[in-house]
Every structure is written in structure tokens, then in C-alpha cells.
Symmetry: C2
Subunit: 463 residues, 2 copies
Amino acid sequence: MQRAILAFSLFSASALASPFSPQTIEIAEQLQLQAMASDAAYQIVADLTTEIGPRLPGTVNDARAVAWAKARFEQMGFDKVYLEPVEVPHWERGGIAAKVTSPFPQPLLITALGNSVSTPPDGITAEIVRFANLAELEAAAAKSLDGKLAFIDHKMERSRDGRGYGPVVTARSKGASIAASKGAVGLMLRSVGTDSHRFAHTGVMRYAAGIAQVPAVTLSAPDADQLTRMLQRDPHVEVTLNVKNQAFPPKTSYNVIGEISGSSKADEIVLIGAHLDSWDEGTGALDDGAGVGIVVAAAKQIIDANLTPERTIRVVLFAAEEIGLVGAKAYRDAHQAELSNHYIAAEADFGAGPIYKIHSRVGEHALADFDAMAKQLESLGVKRGNNNSWGGPDMSVLPPLGVPVAGLALDGTDYFDYHHTPDDTLDKVPPAAIQQSSAVYTVFTWLMANSESNFRPIPIPTK
Amino acid sequence: MQRAILAFSLFSASALASPFSPQTIEIAEQLQLQAMASDAAYQIVADLTTEIGPRLPGTVNDARAVAWAKARFEQMGFDKVYLEPVEVPHWERGGIAAKVTSPFPQPLLITALGNSVSTPPDGITAEIVRFANLAELEAAAAKSLDGKLAFIDHKMERSRDGRGYGPVVTARSKGASIAASKGAVGLMLRSVGTDSHRFAHTGVMRYAAGIAQVPAVTLSAPDADQLTRMLQRDPHVEVTLNVKNQAFPPKTSYNVIGEISGSSKADEIVLIGAHLDSWDEGTGALDDGAGVGIVVAAAKQIIDANLTPERTIRVVLFAAEEIGLVGAKAYRDAHQAELSNHYIAAEADFGAGPIYKIHSRVGEHALADFDAMAKQLESLGVKRGNNNSWGGPDMSVLPPLGVPVAGLALDGTDYFDYHHTPDDTLDKVPPAAIQQSSAVYTVFTWLMANSESNFRPIPIPTK
């Protein structure tokens, strides 16, 4: 069955004007078989999440993760392994508690958003005011929230491509300052997530300049529903909130980099990446242990097959993605002179997969070549997508500077059930899915490292 | 469709030598239609879990729950509403924290078992020793756990009838003392549950006399798996455990009782019940808000239809089931003189349903009569079960004293995903399932209150 499919895809690819030599395609197909028989990606996630666990930027475990990744890269046999320093913000969660004090006293399950300030030591006790979404809060009159807690109860929609995230996440990043600008003493946000479990989803937030910094927390979906039911019974619901967080001076973390040196085009770089950091309450299995497993195992298949690509394959595990693409920006700045040599870039940061589509951002003239590449992934169940990709969160800093990117779309139907919660643990990584995802990256990486196309210039995106 | 099924069941029932008059059956079928069009059971759970929330025996919320239930009963129009005092143990959870300190430092997600003592203020730091189950721990040599933490990692099997609970729950109730008898300084137990989420399941434990009382905690399934993976990499895994609980003097709580007075056989009692208390981390929606909704709504259908049963229908919401059937034992003792007048008893305490089978414990001579009753429930999807029922946890104190019981088996396939966790909240109650379960109780209660059978003497069970 597998053989028959491969024979078919070989035929299809050669029927097009292929940017790949027959030998490149033959090797890609051998690599595909090898990767689909390998559990390397899953094992990497298992090792990272077990031996390191949570790895919030700036923490002891972040430094342990960097050392772990460097040692792993060295053991794997990359031609070059090195670290690049990244100055990262350092914030840590302390204790947290919340309860309804009136009219229906009971505890609430919440968590603090990353960067949130603390409450005073004895907490804040205030009435809550519910808003169906951020727009409703924005429409509230000045001073209308004086002394109140703003409660935003916007439900996220489930989807395979994560399109439900955008409409709700701004409330997480900006909601606290908008609430404070109306007089609120804090923000309680329904978790940005798709589950109905008693997990509050964390994530980064920012304070706007010149506005009082008030604590920002999220409620689990059942707790948000509970508050809404209480408000239906009594418009005056009072909550006590106690948050103890701490901001520390910035620390030095590192982007961890491994390279398989190219032959004839060694100065051209095929960049694949994921981020090494994670939120602190889970073990960062889906976000982004899975991405680490997918791209590192892809490189491992090529190393283990003792192959030399024409271009250099560079794997980057970025620092501090979660708190603002900090490692990605440091990479962009450190490699500015070299960016024009970046042939293509792609990041895995949306769970374990499987990969169902491949998007791109390449020049219009090169679309047929990219289509030919996508064709080669059909036997793995991957369809061709659009040409509007940003390449993934960390890679998104590169297209504005002209770097072509690919978007290997991971199936994220369940991703936001676990995203940024304590429940993001290894048991949520389906071994078959991550195996397929890593096989797709393996084939993609090999083809890109040996392609005869030129993807530049690309359509420069504007946000 | 519904009409056709009813006509058929009417025919079937009358073909048997029925213990029910045609009028009794006609009313039962009207009640069934009424109950299947009612959301009363769901609304009762919604109100109880929203307006009261967690209700651990002896706490302020336990007292609030009693007042809530009494007011609800009075508002519903029971003929009699009364409270019976129950002296209940009072234990409360304080802060808890655990982490692996070596070789893979990271936090663990745990909870304390009910009744567990605290650690010293600075916690306990010790190596863990894993046991696949309680039998392995029991087989450990004396003193072999000196200064260690015993870790029991027994996985519970999922099933519709909850048969997986028995083989693992003894480790929860007795594991700490068995571990301490081998020198252990504490017990860490894989949660008795069937989910793979980051929830530790609590539940009651007991200390054996004459053995050191050591703290007893459970790990979420992902955390238990994590410890096992660590031990596969390094046999020396050290954990720090910090538990702060508090035992208080006993308090007076109450069984809450509502009655629909019977007519010709008013001194005979059809007893249906559930327990009002819950564990403290969830809102006790499935355990046992659902049972409360099922039996209270069943009585409500009969009251709302303005019907008078021949026998008295008594609804009891028991106190303090979770910590040892305390309310049930108090009921048994307070009603000793009247137990011979208990016609039949049944408790709903296994989630929201649906009910798929009806078991019994009645005299052999009366099995045909009970079968006829079961036949009447067929149109609701209920099959006849065995004659070995205990009637439910609280009712289990009655068959040893000769009281006939019925076991209306609720589908518990998912029950132990949520049981005794923070995640036992209203969103886990499927409205259609609880509607069917309450309809079954409605029909059952009406038929029992007007049956011409005599179920005594019963086969007395021996545990």
C-alpha cells in the first residue's frame, strides 16, 4: 500500500516540471519511510517533558532545558551545535486564590496571566461586572467600573486551524488596561480555550503605558459559567481575589541551534524551528514540546541516514516565545546580515498534528515549484494550502524582511483544550500524529535543502 | 412513537399477573410523559451547585445546603418537611504543594485525601518507592520503607457499572496505614479515577489504630505517569510534600426529609434518596447533585400532578455520605422501630445516568412482581437486572436489617473521570440523561407506592 502510493507520487511529481532531481525525490521517499517507522519525535517530547518539565523563561528549568537541548543535539551528531544568548524577561507565579463571598460563597478556580501584578497582600474584594466580550468592555463609560472587577466572558470557538483564537486573545493581552481605564481594580477573563474542564488558561498580557496596572486572571470555563449563572440569579456578585506574583530582573537564556552542514550551497539555510520554553503550570508537551520533537526528529532522520544536503539545515529551538517572541527577535537581529541567505523557514508550534495542509509565502513565479513539493507530501495526507503563511509564531518576524516561509498546518482541533493549562502533559501527544508530523517535516526539509527553485522575492506581508 | 410504546407496554404488563391496577399503570404512564417533558432534575442540580457549590460535611456550605434543601422542599409542596440531626466529623483541606526535587525538579499536582493529617510545617522530603498495587505494598518487608514515601500506581479500569472502583479503592482507604506499618513517612497514591487530566481525586481514608498517622495524598494520572517515567530513568526520585489540613470538633448537620403522605397505607414507606453533601474541590454536580435532582424531581412530578399515593413517599437527602455514610447510619438508628414499614428503598448516587438496568433485593416469591415493574420501565430503555442489589451507598445499611431495596443502575462510564475532583461541575451533567433518570425514578416511585406485592422477607446480604 505504502509502496503503491509512493510509486504514484513519484510519477505525479515527475509529470510536473519538477524542481527536484529524481535522486532527491528517491531519498525523500526513503526518508519518509524511515520517519514513519520511527518514534523519535515522541521520545524527544517524552524526554523533554519528563526530565525538564515546565520551562518558563528566566527560571531554573529554562536553563536546564537549554542544557538538555544542547546535550541532545550534540549526542545526535549535528555538524554544528551552538547557543545564542537572549535577554529574557523573568516573571514567576506565586500563590493565587479567589472566592465568591456573596451571595453564593464558594471558591473559584483561576490562574494569573503572565506579567500580571499582584493584589495587595489581603487581596481585593469587589463586585464583578460581566461583559460578553472585549468590545462591550471598550464601550463601557469612563469611571463606570470604579472599584469593580471586570469579568469578560467571551467563549472561544473550536476549529482545526485555530481561527477561534484571534477574536478572543486580545481580551487577554489588553483587557486589563482597558478595564483599568474605566476604573476597574482587576480583570477576570474567561479562559481563552475550548475545553470545559476546571483549568484556567494562562498566557501573556501587557500593561498599556500611563494606566493603572491591575491584576489580570483567567477563570476556567466552568467557573466563568458559574459566575454567569450567579449573575442571572443576583446582579450583585462579590468576589475576593488574591494574587501573588513576582517580577525579577531579566535573565540570559539561549536559542539552541543545531546544523547539518550543506555541500554545494552550504551558505544557504533551510530553517526549521520550534520553541523550547513553555508555560509553567503544565509540562509544555503540546506547546511546544511537540514542535521540538517534530523538527528535531526530522533532522535526526537525515543525520541517521548519513545524508548530506546541498543547503545547510538549521534547527533553532527559540527562547521565550511565550512571553513575546523574544528569542525569535534576537535571532532575527543576530542574523540580519545572513537573512538574505535564508532559503525558507518553517516552525512547528501548534501541537502534535497530524499535518493536513502546507501553506507558503513564496514569490508568485515559484508557486508551481512549491506545488510540486506539496504534491510530494500527498501520500502523507497533506494538501496544498494558500500563499499567505507567516511561517509560525517565531518565524513571523522573517517574512517582513523578505524571507520565504512555509506553514505546515498542524491539526489543532483539540489544541486549545490544553493550551497554557496544567493539563498540557505528555499523555495529550498522540504518538501516531506526531510521527506523521515529523515525517512531513523530514520530507519537507530534505526537499527544500535540495530544491532547484528560487522563492524570492516574496509578497511582503503587512499586519 | 411514544404513544405506541406506551400502548405496547400497557398490553405487556397486563398480560402478566400484574401487581398494579390498570389505574396505577395509567397514572405511571402519564407521569412518565410528564417527567420526560420536564427539566426539573437538571434545574435542581443547577440551583444546588450554583447557589451552594461545594458542601463538605461540617462546613458553612454544608449548613447552607441543608437550609437550601429544606426551603426547596417547602416550596415544592411536600406534605411534610423536616430535618433530622446527624453528628458529622469535620475536616478541612488547607494548602498543599508537592514537587520533585531530584533528579528532575518540577512541581507535582496532588490533593490530600479526606482525613489526612498534615506534614510538619516545612514538609517532608523523601525518596519514593513505587508499588504497582496495594498487594505489592502489603508484601513489602517490615522497615523496608523507613523514611520513604510509598507510591501506589494502580490504574482504575473504566466500566459502565463502576466495577473498576473496588479493586483500587482499598489502597485509598487503607494504604497510608499499611505504608506506615513498613516505615513509610507518607502515601502518594495514583488517583482512583479513569481520566487522564491533571486532576487529583480526593476521597476518604482511615488510619488504623496503633500505627503512625502519615499524610496521604493522591496524584493526578499524568503526574503518576510522570513519576513512573522518572523512575524508569533513575531509581532515586526525591519528592518534597507539604500538606496542611485541619481536623475540627464534630458538628451537627442534618438529613433533610420530605414526604408525600400516603392514603390507605400511609404508614408504609417508599424511600428514595441521594446525598446532599459533596467533596470540597468541585461543586458536587455528579456526586451527588445529580442524585438529588433525580429523586427530588421524581417527587416533584407526583406533587405537581396532584396525586395521592397509597403508601407514603419519603425523600431523604442524606448528610455526610462521603465521609462514611454518617447520615445513613443516623437515619437507620433513628428509624429503627419503623424499618419494618419500609416497603422498598433506592438511592441515586452514581452520576446523572441514563438508567439502563434495574436490580433488586426482594424475596424470591416476589421476583415476578418486580419483573412486572421492570417491564413497565422498558419503554425508557431500562432492562431488568439481578436480585443482589444493596440499594446504593446510603441505602446499603438497610438490607442487613431486612429492608427490600432496588438498584436503578445509572450509566457510570464517565463517572470516575470527574468523581471527587474539582472538575465535578454542572457542565458534566447531560440534560437528556438526567431527565431520563428522573423519569425512571418517577415511574418506579409511583408503582412502588401503589403496588400490591409484598417483597419481604428478602435474602439478607452478608458483606
